[in-house]
Each structure stands twice: as structure tokens, then as C-alpha cells.
Subunit: 458 residues, 2 copies
């Protein structure tokens, strides 16, 4: 169903203002990683709070140990209405290297239908289109079909270190029926996308200790186990030749994605050769029986992230190293957990460790995988709203990486999370010349206004 | 047969002088690695040349691009006599760290029957006992049973960089029937030893290139080959579980040591647990079917000397590395050659390299293995002379490392090389508190005087 005429008229009439306001926000260099920008980051928080107040929300700036969290609220929906929490972030990545920008990073500029500015797509543009969508409802109708909480944090680019604690200690404030996040990209231009899955992470360090100190490889070589060779032998047992992970029990908890989801992935316009070019690898390689997108989105991995042993400088040094180290991490999929994978990893490494060395496994970092249950009124409403705004059936996508806050929301608040993003491939989110498509900024606010109308109707 | 009485009497009468003269040489800090000691090194060369002249040799100091080579000669033996080349070096290792020396490194001091000084055993004491052995013959009898060339170089501790070239360009000067070198240790106190083998070396760098640059392990992990994992898989194919090297053809050229040599090795007083403690390894490990000494002396190896890939700092970084590097070296035994092993290594790595990466193998360094043919008049004479001097049957030992000059002599001059050393285990050759046993200094010169007498008789 197309967007209601009053909302559409409002968006059309206020198009320039919505863009100008976003430009004001983009001009604030709220770089959370740089303490010299602390005042800018605080200014951005104020700006966002004021923009919420301007459309009729109450807004509170909550200090944290780091940058503040802004929470806007509107709770005047009719009894029985749902409560939706919209999450976004007002901080941005550093802009360096500045010389690679074609226009100044904090002076938004439109070229070729793209708004170039640091933070345009990540995430100021995507946060502000939500505020503009709420404004359209409140300005034209004086009300919203649901209660709404808008949470804008200022530390997403530095690990959201204070967010989990904030959510856990403000459950009453944040209680809701669903969470909506726009901080991702559409699969392709013109193709509205719902992000349905994120992989988790179990990150280990494996240390192999052989001799007490480095030995001369001539005087001792052949009589003691070489710890670097031992490490290589351990790592080599982690996959079979078909790219399956050979750690016993590793796949036991992997939930079947289902034929429908796999069909949807295979129907996406995706070109292996283009992807290969992007990586620069001589050829693609992955688990037998799965396509590239399936390998990245729905299958777990076991990767070496780092190796170090012995002499690594120029030329030849005949050292028999005392020790060897590998950083090894597994990307996880539902229902794997970092703790279970740690147990399996430990047991496997112990079972394949050769004699003559001592091997330790330490878990450095862990995060749970996430997958949306795409059935339910929120997702149905989102599909309809996206279809209406983009005139195209939305696709369901996955993401091989992690967005830890998604798991935090789902776990602490116990609500479904809808990830609907309006970025685009090549948007340079953490690179020079970051941009957001003007069209997606406009259509994104219409899609979200439509979502709330659809949700109110459901 | 015991040493002739005239020689024995001469040694007894001149014992203190032989020691005092050595102390003079030890007081010269001829550290070849330190340019601030260049004058000292030149002074040591002069001192050695003069000590040759003092006993009746002619001596020439040959300049090189580095430190000079001293060549002493005595060619007045009766017609048909053999010509022997004695090799040693007058340069020493740096003495640092000085604070760990119990007496000053360049002020020789006797404690517990040991001469403590930098260079005492490596190699000034072992070089000078040869000069004293020649002196005993010349002083008591006015002649020697053979022609003799004494070559003393000043760059042994910095890689003998100019020696091979000097030998090759002075073949006429250096032509001889045998080479004798005393720059090694006896297997145990009181146990005279002939060093019969040295391992060679083929040193490689293996580079694995995957993606063009480091990738995010979330966004790409699972879809491209991980170069560090690929490297581990390659390295893991190099041995089987029994410690045999699994590179096809690797052992094809390995000469059978023979039952007698193995029996001799097994008869040596050797304690695995003591050796293990020395390494600090949790347990010993090596090729099945061979003892520790056999593994180090007579079997080739394949070792990882270094590993480097991706992120190796503290904590977790989810990088999928673009590349991975291993330094891999093989200790070789006769009749393996570095060039053949390079071919086998290349072919093997190519055959086991997984898809999705490019793998290159570069040889960085190579050296041939060496094994003495222990039959022949020189070795028989050495056995008899050692037995007489130490009142004990000499043992035949091996060495897992390399002494490149041995191969150079044998190859360029085409002569057998006798390695007969008078150091001892624990002598701290390259460490603080280097020492040489007073007893071995005395018995060494008697053994060498006896050797020349035996050789003249043969």
C-alpha cells in the first residue's frame, strides 16, 4: 500500500529542510575515538536531543563514563499500542587520511546524487531519517501509531563500551515490543533489504611452548619438537580438504537455515567474480556445498588471524624457536555460543597436540551470533513499507560480521530486532569519501513512516 | 705407543712458558665483530705470525677485505713426506655481557684447573697448542716428520667471509695432503674425540599470498582461503606422526651411516634426561627408530625457524591476513645437497598448496653436509696419538651444526679433514666465563706432537 497522502505531502514539502538539518548534524565532527573532539561529540548529543524535542519528543542526555547516550521518548499512543525502540549513533569514525577526501569530510556536499560527508551513512543520515519519519506523523496527525523510544549513542565507533551496562540498568526506561536499527546497507541500489543475521565470534590465542629458550637448530634440531611445526600441525587439523571444520562437535548446534532462506540467498543478484576481485584473492575458496554468500552469512568459520614464532626478519637465522603463537577465531552462527565453542576448541587442541610441547588455549573475546525470526507483524509491516517506498520486493540478507548491540538488545530486552539499512555497497563507511544516497535518505524516511503506519494497522 | 721421551721432556720443561705465552695472546682483545678492536685484531695476527717465526716457520700476514690471514710454513721435510695444513683462528667472540664474567675476559685466570678467558678454548688455546707441538719437534730434533702449513684466520667469529676466496686463490700455497682443525670439543672429560660429521643446511622462506590486502574476517571469512591456515596446512605435511620427513624423495640421497658408526654412537656416555634438561623441553621428540645423538648427528631435519602472519599484538583483532610467511630450514646429511633439497621442497610445496593462495619458495642459504672418511693413515695416526696422550680409546662424534670452512677445505683442496678438538662440554665458548681445561691444553699439544710422529712413521 502506498504511503498515505498526508505523509507523502509532508515529506515532499519539507524535503529541503530535512536535508539542511542533516547537513547541520554532519558538520559537527563528533569523532568518538579522539578526545580532542569530546566537545564536538557532546555538541552532537545536544543537537540530536534538541532535534527530538523539536518534533515533540522528550529527550534526556544520559552521561556515561564515555560519551553520552541520548534517549528521546513519546508515550502518548492509544492504549494497547506497541512500543518501538529506534537505535542509532551520532558519533563517527575519524576522517583521516584527510588528503584522500574529494570534499572536506565535515562539509557535506552533494555530487551524483550522493551526500558526501563523514557520518553521512554511518550513522547520522540513517538516524536522522528516523527522526524525520516520526516528525511526519506527529506534524501531520499530532500522534504516532505507537509509543517510541529513540536511543542515540555516541560510542558505536569505539566499541559501544557503555551501552550494554546502560541497557541493563535502564530496563524500565527501555522496555519495548521491538527494536529497529538502521545502520547497515541495502544489498544493491534500489533493492530494499532486511538484515536477518549476524555471526558471533569466539576468539582464541593458542600458545605452544617447547624448549625453555630458543635453541641452535643445528645442535638440537631433530631431537626436540619444534613448537612452530607443532602449531602448524595443530592448525592443520581444524579443517578437512573440503573446507569443513574438523573440530569434533563444531556443527552440532548449528541451526538449519532452511531451504527457503537458502533459496532467497541464491536468488540475490550476486557475482562471485566481482566478489573475488574485491578481495584480490587468486580464487575463492570455502566450505564445499555452499555458495559464497552462504559461506559468509550462514556458515561458521575457523580463521587464523595471526601467527608469530622465532625469527621473522630478513635473511636466515638458524633458530629453533622456544615458542609459537596463533590467534585463531571462529565466526559463529545460531545456536553456537562462544563458551561451547571454547570447550570444543580446547578439547580438540588437547587431542591433536603433538608430544614434546605444552599447548595452552585462551579465549580473548566472544560474542553470540544472532538471527532474526522473520515471521511476525514487525517484519511483515517492514516488508510492506519497504516495498511501497522502493517499489520493489525487499530481500533478506545476512552479515558475516557482528553488531554486538543487536544481541544485547535482544537478550536484555527480550524483543525482536529489525535491522533495516539504507546504505549501499561502496558507501565508504569507514573510509575517505563516505556517502549516503540522497534517494535512500528520502525513501528511507518514507519507508519508516510507512512502517509505523503499517504497524499501527497490524 | 707413548710419546717419545725427548718430546715429553721438552713439554715438561717448557710447560710454564707455553702457558705464559698463551696468556699473552689471550690478553689481546681480538674481537673481530667490533671495529673498535681492529687494531687489537691486527696485533693478534702479528703476535701469531711472530710465534710461528719464533719456532722456525716462515710466516706471512695476508691482508683481506676484513681481518688478515696468517700463513706459517715449514717445508723442509724429507722427500716424500706428507704436507699437513693446520687451521685455527685468532679472533674471538665479543666478551659482553662483561658483568657476568667472574674474572676479566682478557685477563686469563686459572681456577679449578681451567684457564678462564675469552678465546681460551675458541680458538686461541687450540691454535696455540698446535704451534707448541710443532715447536717441540723443531726444538728437540731440528726437523718435522712432515711439511706443515699453519693457516690462522681472523674472521671465524664473523662468518669467515674472506676465507673461501683466499683458499681458492692460494691453492698453490695451500696444497696439502690433509687438513687438521682443533676448534671443537671432546665428548666428555678425559674422552678424546674425533669429530667425524657436520650437517649441511638448506634454508628457505615460504610466502603465502591470499587476498590483496588484509580483509575483515567477518565480512569475508569463509569465502576465501586464509593464507595463514594454508601455510599451516603446507607445513603440517612436512613430517609424518613418527617424525619422518614426508617430502617425497627427501631421504633418497641419505648415505647409510653403517652399523659400526651407529654402534659407536650408542656406546657413547649420553644421558637423554640430562640433554632434555639442557633444552628445557617438556620431553624429547624426534624421528622414530633413532637415538637422540643419531637424530642430531646423522639424520636430516626440517624445522620452522620463524612464522609471521596477520595480527600478533595483544588482544583480539579480527583480521583475515593477506599473507603468511615461514622460515623453514633443513639440516642435511651426506649426500644430500642444498640444491637437490630445494628442488624437492619446491615440488612438495607446490603439490600440497591449497587452492585460493599463491605460494612461493625462496632459498636463502645453503651449505653442504660433511662426513669424514675415517679410514686412512691420518685418522689411524690420530687415534693412536690421542690414545697415548689421554690413555683412553678415542671416540668418534658428530655435530648437528655446520662449520662451513671444513667443506671449503675438502672441496677446494681435495684433502681429508681431521677435526680433533680439545674443548669440553660446558666450556662457554660464546658465553661469559669461557674456559679451556689446563689438562687438555697440555695433553692436546702432546697428542698433536704424537700425531706428527705417528704420521711420519706411517
Amino acid at each position: 500500500m502506498p504511503l498515505a497522502k498526508d505523509l507523502e505531502s509532508y515529506f515532499a514539502a519539507n524535503q529541503n529542510r530535512a536535508r539542511d538539518e542533516l547537513f547541520d548534524l554532519l558538520r559537527i565532527p563528533s569523532v568518538s575515538a579522539r578526545s580532542e573532539h569530546n566537545a564536538d561529540t557532546a555538541r552532537a548529543a545536544d543537537w540530536v536531543a534538541n532535534s527530538m524535542r523539536a518534533i515533540g519528543l522528550t529527550a534526556t542526555i544520559h552521561p556515561t563514563k564515555g560519551h553520552p547516550i541520548v534517549v528521546g521518548e513519546w508515550r502518548q499512543a492509544k492504549p494497547g499500542a506497541q512500543t518501538v525502540l529506534i537505535y542509532g549513533h551520532y558519533d563517527v569514525q575519524p576522517a583521516e587520511p584527510l588528503e584522500l577526501w574529494d570534499s572536506p569530510p565535515f562539509e557535506p556536499t552533494i555530487r551524483d546524487g550522493k551526500i558526501f560527508a563523514r557520518g553521512s551513512v554511518d550513522d547520522k543520515g540513517q538516524l536522522y531519517l528516523h527522526i524525520k519519519a516520526l516528525e511526519a506523523h506527529l506534524a501531520t496527525r499530532g500522534t504516532l501509531p505507537m509509543n517510541v523510544i529513540v536511543l542515540a549513542e555516541g560510542e558505536e565507533e569505539v566499541g559501544s563500551e557503555n551501552l550494554e551496562q546502560f541497557i541493563a540498568s535502564h530496563e524500565d526506561l527501555l522496555t519495548c515490543d521491538s527494536v529497529v536499527i538502521s545502520d547497515s546497507a541495502m544489498f544493491a541500489p534500489g533493492l530494499p533489504s532486511i538484515l536477518s543475521s549476524l555471526r558471533g565470534l569466539a576468539y582464541f590465542e593458542i600458545n605452544v611452548q617447547g624448549p625453555a629458550g630458543d635453541l641452535h637448530s643445528g645442535s638440537y634440531g631433530g631431537a626436540v619438537m619444534n613448537p612452530a611445526m607443532a602449531l602448524a600441525r595443530i592448525l592443520a587439523t581444524m579443517h578437512d580438504a573440503d573446507g569443513h571444520i574438523a573440530i569434533p562437535g563444531f556443527y552440532d548446534k548449528v541451526r538449519d537455515w532452511g531451504a527457503k532462506a537458502r533459496d532467497e540467498i541464491r536468488a540475490l543478484p550476486f557475482d562471485d567474480e566481482h566478489f573475488r576481485e574485491e578481495t584480490g584473492s587468486p580464487s575463492l575458496f570455502g566450505e564445499k556445498g555452499y555458495s559464497t554468500l552462504e559461506r559468509v552469512w550462514m556458515r561458521p568459520t575457523c580463521e587464523v588471524n595471526g601467527l608469530l614464532s622465532g625469527y621473522t626478519g630478513e635473511g636466515a637465522k638458524t633458530v629453533l624457536p622456544a615458542k609459537a603463537m596463533a590467534k585463531v577465531s571462529c565466526r559463529l552462527v545460531p545456536d553456537q555460543t562462544p563458551d561451547e565453542i571454547e570447550k570444543l576448541m580446547r578439547a580438540h587442541v588437547a587431542s591433536v597436540s603433538p608430544p614434546g610441547v605444552q599447548v595452552t588455549v585462551t579465549q580473548l573475546h566472544g560474542g553470540r551470533p544472532w538471527r532474526a525470526d522473520l515471521d511476525g507483524p514487525l517484519f511483515d509491516a517492514a516488508r510492506r513499507a519497504l516495498r511501497a517506498a522502493f517499489d520493489k520486493e525487499p530481500v533478506v540478507t545476512g552479515e558475516g560480521g557482528s553488531i554486538p548491540v543487536v544481541g544485547d538488545f535482544q537478550r536484555i530486552l527480550g524483543t525482536p530486532v529489525l535491522l533495516v539499512g539504507f546504505g549501499l555497497p561502496g558507501e565508504n563507511a569507514h573510509a575517505p569519501n563516505e556517502w549516503m544516497s540522497v534517494e535512500n535518505y528520502e525513501k528511507g524516511m518514507r519507508a519508516m513512516a510507512g512502517l509505523w503506519e503499517e504497524l499501527g494497522r497490524a
